[in-house]
Amino acid sequence: MLSIKNLTVNVNDKQILKGINLEIKPGEIHAIMGPNGSGKSTLSHILSGKAGYTVTGGSVTYQGKDLLEMAPEIRAREGVFLAFQYPVEIPGVSNIYLLKAALNSIRKHHSQPEVDAMDFLTLVKDKVRLLEMDEKFLYRAVNEGFSGGEKKRNEILQMAILEPKLCILDETDSGLDIDALKIVSEGVNSLRAADRSFVMVTHYQRLLDYIKPDFVHVLAHGQIVKSGGAELALELEEKGYSWVEDSKAAI
């Protein structure tokens, strides 16, 4: 599904990612943990094609294609989805309008006809129920006046409707209270499939109580300093990031 090799990335001539290696197979869930400023969002942005970053070395292959060559909207249409750490507001554009435009642009890319209006409404209402959201949110402007938690839930709603192949969740758990965290996690779990992979960026172990990862990677100072199974997250929780950061210094 995704293969990252020796990826190095600069922002404003400062090296942020210093040689990332990561292999993700279909159906797997990978958690990426690490302290603030370690480069987690940078990695998410690089995978989704945000401007302002310079790849100075390495490669990223997605479904056999060079991901870094693709325009961001092409990546999206090919199934790469980023749930943003800080979702933006778009005044005047209703949620449901954005959803429909997004879904249709993806369908068009795959030579499918535009979604039928009734089918679309049924689909959207289904997913709204799944995420225990109020239908009113559909008709409000994208993220405008939403609370932090509502914005995050809205990201997952979009993910559930667009049905991507590679889901990157950048700190979706931060800003969620415990009930919301449960609902969002159930939403994510319901999307688990043999041909769908997840990259979950998080600070905290608590999300991983609800969504069990196959692998956990610790990112520090732009490098993956430790990888392991789900138990690594527990160990981290107990010992803190200094434990792995120190272990890296020891290498």
Partner: protein, 482 residues
């Protein structure tokens, strides 16, 4: 990677689809302007004597005036002697026009613009007056409107057939002395629409006029007059397009609306004159005086404009709220790109008691364009309990364009309430990237964000015109869901 700010600038650069020229045989005056030209013009239009006198009076006054310089626009002085003041597709003979007599090329031009004029194809529920250069070439559904007592015809026809209405109302809202371009228009106006809605009549269909400039080296001097008698109701829309040319062309219009007691006029404009090329070459100078007199108690006039074209737009559709409880509204979207300049806004003059006005202005500026909102809210001593609400938002696309806001407020009545809100925002790269990450192209994303920004104004456009507005606008309206 996602689009940079510079790239965004290019995105609303859409091809100007109405830029074609129709090859025709025409009757065109030689260039130049003097009293002889005005005599000739009045003669070719077969006008009554009083019109000629009116024109000459206006012309003499215009010669004493200077071109205004207060607007936030820059252009070289216009050589009024280098313009032809009349150009019309050749017709075999005078007399009542039927569609068969219209040059098929002209019909074809309108068809290409999405406004079929022939019987079978014409737009259902919408009567169209088609003004081509200096003449109206066709008016549809005249018979059906006549049955309802509604007069909808070219103004040049109204001069001949309804001189009593013309004498009473023409120049009663915008006098020939009003301003430089209004004086010029009064002297040389050629065609436009005339509407009269009798007492108590709700106009059975939407009325619209399509202004097309085709001939080179001509000016188009539109004159429109709409009278809504007591208790009547009418909705009117105008659309405008022109060929792509390197020379600037002048469209100097005067539009007068009169709303009597309990009458309502809804006037919508989709202005898509040729804006000039990327480097600012060519384009229409759109210098327009539009004013409504809400003469009767409880009358209402609503201006909605979507201005995307023209090299320069200089336009302030206004309401004089004379009657008690009169309502004036102004909803505006003005989009400028490349080197386009727009100085547009409104004047709301409160005279009657309990008069109310609403102003919603959305200015979008991209490329190197300048976009200015200029508005006056004036409350006279007599206007007890007058209210105004003004909301004025600017959206910048890129960082080489400008948005300016000049609100003027004069209040002489202490019980009046005047509110003004203004915002300026930019399409952020984060917004754009977010949309692209959801699968939209940068172009669709900009268009969606701009449409979202304009939503409050677009929803004021009559439903029936949505499709045409879309065709003329080049920007897609937000869809039926949400």
């Amino acid at each position: 990677m996602s689009a940079s700010a510079q790239e965004i600038n290019n995105l609303i650069n859409q091809e100007y689809k109405q830029g074609f020229v129709t090859e025709l045989e025409t009757d065109t005056f030689p260039i130049g302007l003097d009293e002889d030209v005005i005599h000739k013009l009045s003669k070719v239009k077969n006008e009554p004597e009083f019109m000629l006198e009116y024109r000459l009076k206006a012309f003499r006054h215009w010669q004493t005036m200077k071109s205004p310089e207060w607007a936030f626009v820059k252009f070289d002085p216009i050589d009024y002697q280098a313009i032809s003041y009349y150009s019309a597709p050749k017709r075999k003979e005078d007399g009542p026009k039927s569609l068969d007599e219209i040059d098929p090329q002209v019909l074809e031009a309108y068809k290409k613009l999405g406004i079929p004029l022939d019987e079978q194809e014409r737009l259902a529920g919408i009567a169209v007056d088609a003004v081509f250069d200096s003449v109206s070439v066709a008016t549809t559904f005249k018979g059906k409107l006549k049955d309802a007592g509604v007069i909808f015809c070219p103004i040049s026809e109204a001069l001949r057939e309804h001189p009593e209405l013309i004498k009473e109302y023409l120049g009663s809202v915008v006098p020939h002395t009003d301003n430089y371009f209004a004086a010029l228009n009064a002297a040389v106006f050629t065609d436009g629409s005339f509407v009269y809605i009798p007492k108590g009549v709700r106009c059975p269909m939407e009325l619209s006029t399509y202004f097309r400039i085709n001939a080179a080296n001509t000016g188009q001097f539109e004159r429109t007059l709409i009278i809504a008698d007591e208790g009547s109701h009418v909705s009117y829309l105008e659309g405008c397009t022109a060929p792509m040319r390197d020379e600037n062309q002048l469209h100097a219009a005067v539009v007068e609306l009169v709303a009597m007691k309990d009458a309502t006029i809804k006037y919508s404009t989709v202005q898509n004159w040729y804006p000039g090329d990327k480097n600012g070459l060519g384009g229409i100078y759109n210098f327009v005086t539009k004013r409504a007199d809400c003469r009767g108690d409880n009358s209402k006039v609503s201006w909605t404009q979507v201005e995307t074209g023209s090299a320069i737009t200089w336009k302030y559709p206004s309401c004089v709220l004379t009657g008690d409880n009169a309502v004036g509204e102004f909803y505006s979207v003005a989009l400028t790109n490349n080197y386009q300049q727009a100085d547009t806004g409104t004047k709301m003059i409160h005279i009657g008691k309990n008069t109310r006005s609403t102003i919603v202005s959305k200015g979008i500026s991209a490329g190197k364009a300048q976009n200015t909102y200029r508005g006056l809210v004036k409350v006279l001593k007599s206007a007890e309990n007058a209210r105004n609400y003004t909301q004025c938002d600017s959206l910048l696309v890129g960082d080489q364009c400008g948005a300016h806001t000049f609100p003027y407020i004069e209040v002489k009545q202490p019980s009046a309430q005047v509110e003004h809100e203004a915002t300026t925002s930019k399409i952020s790269e984060d917004q754009l990237f977010f949309c692209q990450q959801r699968g939209l192209s940068a172009e669709d994303a900009v268009s969606m964000i701009v449409n979202g920004f304009c939503k409050e104004v677009f929803k004021e456009l009559p439903m029936e015109f949505a499709v045409e507005a879309q065709a003329l606008l080049g920007l897609s309206l937000e869809g039926s869901v949400g």
